[in-house]
Amino acid sequence: MVDVSRVQKELTECNRDREVSGVSITLHDGANISHLTGTIAGPADSPYEGGTFTIDIRLPGGYPFEPPKMQFVTKVWHPNISSQNGAICLDILKDQWSPALTLKTALLSLQALLSSPAPDDPQDAVVAQQYLRDYPTFAATARYWTEAFAKSASTGMEEKVQKLVEMGFPEDLVRSTLKSVDGDENLALEKLCSG
């Protein structure tokens, strides 16, 4: 169904300059080429700077004649991205899709969307209202969310370990517990307390 050769060429081409573009695509699982994972770097001079955002990409059977289905896995505080499920409101992923676009250009468009939100056409009404009425609060929240959810796991892990160790748990237990709950601090704390 999916144009496999095109998708493979797209992956090769996109990952060739991932350091420059800040955009990369990998197969979500090794077998299914219609389920991909994209990552974009948070654009500079935005509340998302320094974050790495993961996007779940599902290619419909009609790709590239139909737009890919994209959704933020990483939680983002953005007027055009649902803070609940990461759904994206972007025209090129809907009616303005063109077969001439690629996964890479779509991810780059998402990157551009992060740096220039369109609150007049919101996906998340709460965020959009905050963006329009109280931009400093919006920026602070977005920065916090970036810090909390979009920073790379390794650096975040050390902070979490540090935090839990300060609470009085042994470091090796904290590390193993954090690893078992996939880095979720609250779950790890619950587990440590319960166990």
Binding site: S5, K9, G62, P64, F65, Q96, P99, A100
Partner: protein
Amino acid sequence: MGHSDAASPASAAAARDAKKKRGNRTAAKLKQSKLETRREQWLSGQGKDGKETKVAASPTGAGSNAGSPILASPHPPLPRRRADTRSRGSDPEDREEAAAATLEVGGSDLDSPMHSPGSDKSQGGGCAQRKGFSGNGGGPSLSSGSSVWSSSRSVSDAEEDHTGCPEDESEVLDDWEAAADALYDDDSHCHQSSVPTTPPPAPTNAAPANAARPEPIRSKARAWAPDDIFRPQSLPSISKQASFPASIGNCWAGMGMSAAQQGILSLPLSCPICYEDLDPTDSSFLPCPCGFHLCLFCHNRILEADGRCPGCRKQYNTVPAAEGGGGPRATMIGREMANIAPVRLSRSCSMGPRY
């Protein structure tokens, strides 16, 4: 100057044609009666340069000649003869004409005794200019400089040497020629209003000294470097003139380059949709005026869906409608209105002849 250069050759050529006809007619008339004069005229043409300059420097012989007032005007025969020689050297027909025209002058010299150097000058200037153009058009020699003159001149000299003119006559003939030149000039001036007369042999007496001399220089003005010391001061701001066409040329070159590059870029080796290689048919297939290339398979696939060009997102089937002059509505009416599918089908079928 560039404008006049570009504009005049056509008119000059036309004038030359008309002049040729007329010149041939007059030549036929006058050849018989004035053969002797013509010979003398030609013989005077063989005079050495030194002699010519001598004549030019000393128009005293004028008094001894026809007594015409023109001779008092400082008109060195040298440029006139050079012009003649040029036309002789370049084109035998022109040579014949030149001789005939000169004869005509000889015949009609008494018609115009009231010949003023002023009018002479202006007239001669115009003639010289036109002569230059016709020379450019007709013969290879004129614009190529004095070396060609001298070669053609030596040819004509050689031709005329065996006519056996006595040396002592030549000086008098020079004066006679000067008078004839002046009178001919006036004569051609009279004729010019009605018929464009004989531009190539026309350059005469005093004016060519001013006009015909710089003429060859002017004809090769494009070869001048901006710092060339021989460049006439009258040429305006050659740096600008030179840089302007150069910049235009660069611009054109740049456009050409960019066009070529665009041509290369807009003709991708593979279809941008399916990434398959484009075959020649696909490469020549341009379904949208935006120039977006794609293979026929992908195009067909798009027509089955929303039918919009991937490059510009416009509907494919409104494109020929817009070209045909009617709006999208008109074509919808013009084509089968029943439903969209047949239209798309016919559209995809219409690609058949492109193969």
